[in-house]
């Protein structure tokens, strides 16, 4: 009886080994394909240390850092989504329920609003605006919003429902404030904000990779130690506490890690929030009954889907590329609907 159910279940599980080679092929494709017309031979030349100056610039200073930024951001969004869905016990949770993307948006908006005066630049010239500061400003805004929501929810005992409601309310206010500010503007600042809001990997460089990397490394180093916490945070607090689990402390730790990962990624790419919503569901679907594979799969799929989405956006849009945030929302919505149909 037992043997039979186990065998039946395993035959239903999807093959996982296939994802790794697919991921590698995808990354290779992302390096070889792009708007700038470089033949595969030219790309190979660059990768083996030869090639023209121009080709080398395109590959090592534009394409590869862009792909690397996408991979890191994809991991951040996906893992943050999984952690938030776990601790709020809400299958529709993503970084936006902790107000992270809204906080980051407001911070970026305020920053650009005042930047004109601080940096004494002409607001009609986009590239004179201090865009290099946006990741740090976005990170700060996202973390600040997360902290406010956490503190509000803590006064009411940190229930998952409370934190979700606080997050939605605070997020809505922050978003409205940002929109209000933008509506009052003219000028090129709007273009930057809109580009940022759509979630983009355009012109992301090695600096962005270096900005993200410490968060990725710190997050990935602690994750293995959180496996048991993540299991126990899926229970209601009285049950977890009765098992002897220090619920509040661990809830706080996991929440902080999720906020750090999501806010740093939002700072660099803008809100590509759909990834955080959809990848954990996809990972659970593929993992089937092998629950311990959900976390590694979430990581892998986060990287793969952002890379794939960005490649599609680059190729489909031609010179006017489609931002990854838009691609992931358009492509992700049907996938999400299909996956959610499995939930009762």
């Amino acid at each position: 009886m037992t043997g039979l159910t186990v065998a039946a279940r395993q035959s239903l599980d999807r093959p996982i080994w296939i994802i790794l080679p697919l991921a590698l092929i995808l990354i290779v494709l992302a390096v070889f394909l792009g708007v700038a017309d470089l033949s595969p031979a030219m790309v190979l030349d660059v990768l083996t240390g030869h090639g023209s100056e121009n080709a080398r610039l395109i590959i090592t200073d534009i394409r590869i850092p862009r792909i690397a930024t996408g991979i890191l951001a994809g991991i951040h969004f996906a893992v943050a989504g999984l952690l938030l869905q776990t601790i709020t016990r809400n299958p529709l949770a993503d970084p936006s329920i902790m107000g992270i993307s809204q906080g980051a948006t407001l911070a970026v908006t305020i920053f650009l609003f005042f930047a004109v005066y601080w940096f004494d630049s002409d607001p009609h010239k986009v590239y004179q605006l201090p865009v290099a500061w946006l990741p740090a400003v976005g990170l700060f805004g996202g973390l600040a919003a997360g902290a406010v929501i956490f503190l509000l929810a803590r006064r009411h005992d940190l229930g998952p429902l409370r934190i979700t409601l606080c997050g939605i309310a605070v997020g809505a206010v922050l978003h409205a404030l940002a929109m209000g500010l933008i509506a009052g503007w003219g000028s090129a600042r709007i273009e930057i904000v809109l580009q940022w809001l759509s979630g983009s990997l355009y012109a992301r460089s090695w600096e962005h990779v270096l900005f993200l990397l410490p968060f990725t490394v710190a997050g990935l180093l602690v994750l293995p130690f959180l496996r048991r916490s993540i299991d126990l945070l899926r229970f209601e607090a009285p049950v977890a506490l009765s098992f002897g689990f220090p619920y509040r402390a661990q809830f706080t730790v996991v929440l902080m890690i999720a906020c750090g990962l999501a806010a740093s990624a939002v700072g660099v790419t803008g809100p590509i929030i759909f990834i955080g919503l959809i990848v954990p569901h996809l990972a659970r679907f593929i993992a089937g009954s092998r629950f311990n594979l959900v976390l590694p799969l979430t990581l892998l799929l986060g990287a793969v889907i952002v890379t794939a989405g960005d490649l599609i956006g680059r190729l489909a849009g031609g010179a006017e590329e489609i931002p990854i945030g838009v691609v992931s929302a358009i492509g992700g919505a049907p996938i999400l609907l299909a996956l959610l149909r499995r939930i009762r």
Binding site: E236, P238, G244, F245, P246
Partner: protein
Amino acid sequence: MPLSCSGLSVAYGPRLALNAFDLTLGKGEIRVLIGPNGSGKSTALHALAGLIAPSGGEVSVGGRAVASFSRRDLAKRLSFLPQQPAAPDEMTVEQLVRQGRFAHVGLFRSYSARDVEAVRWALDSTGLTGLAERNLRELSGGERQRAWISAALAQEAEILLLDEPTSFLDIGHQVEVLDLICRLSRERRVTIVMAIHDLNQAMSVCDRISLLDKGERVFDGVPADLAASGLIERIFNVRGRFVTIADTRAPHFDVELARH
């Protein structure tokens, strides 16, 4: 004295849900809490488990204040199963029961042979060995309840608090759970407090019984004295009488229905 409380009061806002509740248990004792819906049984169990801070009084476990324990140390000695806990989706019976070992393994230590054996014993005691690989979602209400009881057993605590462990079980599984509880008390000397609705089951399984009404403890003693007190008819607002079945057994309450 494994578990006791004195003057225990719990308030939700301005309302007292439990007023000056006293309880003293000996090792291996089975204590049953009965009372109408909303009389404070769950509240008393939560307070005994250290899950709500009382507005007055104190709970002590092994002579030490419950508030002075870390959650993990407390869980090694006291295990609590809430009324109708919600199961996370995508979790097998065995995975649930393994969570019961948290107090022993903590956040990082891996499961030892001792832990694996405790999980096996807990599954076996609740007749779930054959269902170990099943997803909790695919179980009947009764099977799921047994899985939760199994998780509480895996904790191997010397005190077990159970909130309505037999509700939603068919009569066969109800008796199975009650037998298991008796065995734990007699063979392992586990001290047990449970809330239960079936009066006759309550009377026959317990050593002593406490009757709650609107947060007040209106009776505390052996089942025969409760039968003699006439309180059941008054508190539950029913008519009936206690009949003796056998000298060695608790009297049986026979309800009188209005249609007779």
